[in-house]
């Protein structure tokens, strides 16, 4: 038996997850589980008023107390989790689809079309997104549906800009030239070869986007152009509890903490995914 002349590199060690990363994963999974299954367990009384029981402090019966209508704050948060997260997922999915479409057309299309679409993207990036979304939501009639549509039609520029850049890079790669030589049609080339090899950027962006979307959605509802009372959506809940902060702080603190925890959890998940994809960012 002779030892190999060249030392074999040790098999690349699989990196485990740190305790902090596990905590963030658990938090996100818990939030998703609450949003999906929680509302099934909620009592029917969360939409009906019980004035005799209004503004009760936290107790064994009402863990987070009751609001001005005597409704249980805890169970309204649970039901609101579904509304909030479902809306946020819808918004991010919709604007990602718009962004992907615009990026693909810009990357594949002739120069003038690319220029035109990217100038439109510039305009979108230069405008204050939340204010324009507010305008659209107000114009369509204040409702959760309007807010979701408004955020979808104002949220796409960053995705479109990033993805178009990546797609242009992908198109320079040899395998794309190879496919072209083999006579693959432009449409097929873009959708089957270039796009799937450029989508990484969306996967990395996705979790962080949910975090910011939750915040903006709550803001729009607070301003009054999103979900309307008696919806249990968190921003709308804060808006209707606003006047009771000095007499019953739990009615305001609980839904705000829910927004903060959700937004922070998804934001951290986004950071973790990003560092895993690009370890040079570690420590920053």
């Amino acid at each position: 038996m002779t030892a190999p002349a060249i030392a074999q590199p040790a098999a690349r060690r699989k990196e485990g997850f740190s305790a902090f990363e596990m905590f963030v994963f658990a938090l996100v999974v818990a939030l998703l589980a609450i949003a999906v299954f929680g509302p099934f367990f909620a009592p029917d009384s969360i939409y009906s008023s019980d004035i005799a029981n209004s503004l009760m402090p936290p107790s064994a019966a009402n863990w987070f107390g009751t609001d001005d209508q005597g409704r249980d704050v805890f169970w309204r948060l649970i039901v609101g989790a579904q509304t909030t997260l479902l809306s946020a997922f819808l918004v991010v999915t919709l604007y990602s689809l718009i962004g992907v479409t615009i990026a693909t057309v810009a990357a594949a299309g002739p120069r003038w079309l690319d220029e035109g679409l990217m100038r439109i993207t510039d305009i979108g990036l230069a405008l204050p997104g939340m204010i324009v979304a507010l305008g659209f939501a107000a114009a369509m009639g204040a409702s959760l549906r309007s807010a979701v549509i408004a955020m979808a039609i104002t949220g796409w520029p960053i995705t479109a800009r990033m993805l178009r850049g990546i797609m242009r890079q992908t198109m320079e790669q040899p395998f794309v030239a190879g496919a072209q030589v083999l006579g693959v049609s432009k449409w097929r080339l873009m959708t089957k070869h270039v796009l799937p090899n450029s989508l990484d950027v969306l996967i990395v962006k996705w979790a962080g986007d949910i975090g910011t979307t939750v915040l903006v959605l709550a803001s729009l509802s607070f301003i009054g152009v999103g979900a309307q009372p008696p919806s249990a959506e968190w921003g709308a809940t804060i808006a209707s509890a606003r006047g009771y902060v000095s007499t019953a702080w739990w009615t305001v603190v609980a839904p705000g903490a829910a927004v903060a925890i959700t937004s922070i959890a998804f934001g951290l998940l986004g950071d973790i995914i990003q560092v895993r994809r690009d370890p040079s960012l570690r420590g920053n």
Partner: protein, 347 residues
């Protein structure tokens, strides 16, 4: 001569982009008006307008013309400064907004000062003592603050600092009887111009918490950006050379590392100045301050659609102009941006 041509090239390009953005904004607002359910003339005239009044509005806005003509007359009205009429105040929206703009600009200005005054030192210390206790705590704080809804932070701090501890006033722009004659419309500035020191500190006392909340929203970004940028610079060779020649840590940081890492911070704070104006809508109303954000918030509550859309147009325009000014200032301040912008395009 070459430099002059390079500058004018940059300026015309940047102005062109600003005009394009404003045109895009105007088109979006027109689209919003067309998306409104119901009769536009009815909406513009108000809920209790008579049939004759509605017809007069329809006539004035040219709503019987084809949509494309309506679009051009809409753009024409915007160019003349007509943002529509509020059905609540019965005033032109532009006149309403002009009155409260200085108050918002003052809030944003002070918030920006607080933002930089806290985030820059924190970023420097965190980067210099990377991995230390301060670094860890300030990073955790930044993550927490970054995820909090601004209006909620405002409500909670207002309750704790204003109602429970009573260290700041709960709301308003000045105490009763402390109002100075209105010259600019910005309370602290008016107090200064009236040479009224008491009123000045009173106005400052009222603005500190709203400005701090607005600053907290944006300080996390500045902190993260400066920390990352400074960490990069501190690892570079020339810093090692500076240390090797025997420079003190302070000299190295202040004279060498910091000037080389402030560039991204400068760019970011420029973008933030515009974004802060938009975020004022979340803060002003909680503290019962006047301003374009509070005006818009009230317009939403009163279903004053044209005032809302007029505010969107106005705020968008202010943001574009602020961004334009910041870009030009940056060009004048930072030689590297000057080289990048002028060198590549200015032959």
């Amino acid at each position: 001569m070459l430099a002059f041509r390079a500058y004018s090239w940059f300026l015309s390009r940047r102005l062109g982009l600003a005009l394009l953005t404003l045109w895009g904004l105007a088109s979006l607002v027109f689209l919003m008006i067309k998306l409104m359910p119901g009769d536009e003339a009815q909406m513009a005239a108000g809920a209790d307008a008579s049939a004759a009044q509605i017809e007069a509005v329809r006539e004035r806005l040219g709503l019987d013309a084809p949509v494309i003509m309506q679009y051009f007359s809409f753009l024409g009205r915007l160019l003349r400064g007509d943002l529509g009429t509020s059905i609540v105040t019965l005033q032109p929206v532009l006149a309403d907004l002009e009155k409260v703009l200085p108050s918002t600009l003052e809030l944003v200005f002070i918030a920006m000062l607080l933002n930089l005054a806290v985030a820059i030192p924190a970023g420097i210390v965190a980067a210099y003592r990377q991995g230390g206790v301060f670094d860890a705590t300030s990073r955790v704080t930044a993550v927490m603050l970054g995820g909090m809804p601004a209006f909620w932070l405002a409500l909670v701090l207002q309750y704790v600092l204003g109602s429970v501890w009573r260290v700041v006033p709960i709301s308003g722009q000045q105490s009763y009887g402390m109002a100075s004659p209105i010259v600019t419309g910005a309370p602290t500035l008016d107090a200064l111009m009236a040479l009224n020191v008491g009123a000045f500190f009173d106005a400052l006392h009222h603005i500190i918490l709203p400005a701090a909340v607005l600053a907290a929203l944006f300080a996390t970004q500045i902190f993260r950006t400066l920390r990352a940028s400074l960490l990069g610079v501190l690892r570079s060779d020339f810093i090692m050379a500076v240390r090797a020649k025997g420079a003190t840590a302070r000299h190295m940081l202040v004279r060498h590392a910091l000037p080389n890492s402030l560039n991204p911070v400068l760019t970011l704070s420029g973008t933030q100045a515009g974004a802060m104006i938009g975020s004022a809508v979340l803060v002003e109303t909680v503290f019962a301050r006047q301003g374009i954000g509070a005006y818009m918030f009230n317009a939403v509550a009163q279903k004053d659609a044209f005032a809302v859309l007029g505010s969107v147009m106005f705020i968008g325009t202010v943001v574009c102009l602020v961004n334009l000014i910041v870009d030009i200032l940056q060009l004048l301040v930072d030689p590297r941006i000057r080289a990048a912008q002028l060198g590549s395009q200015g032959q």
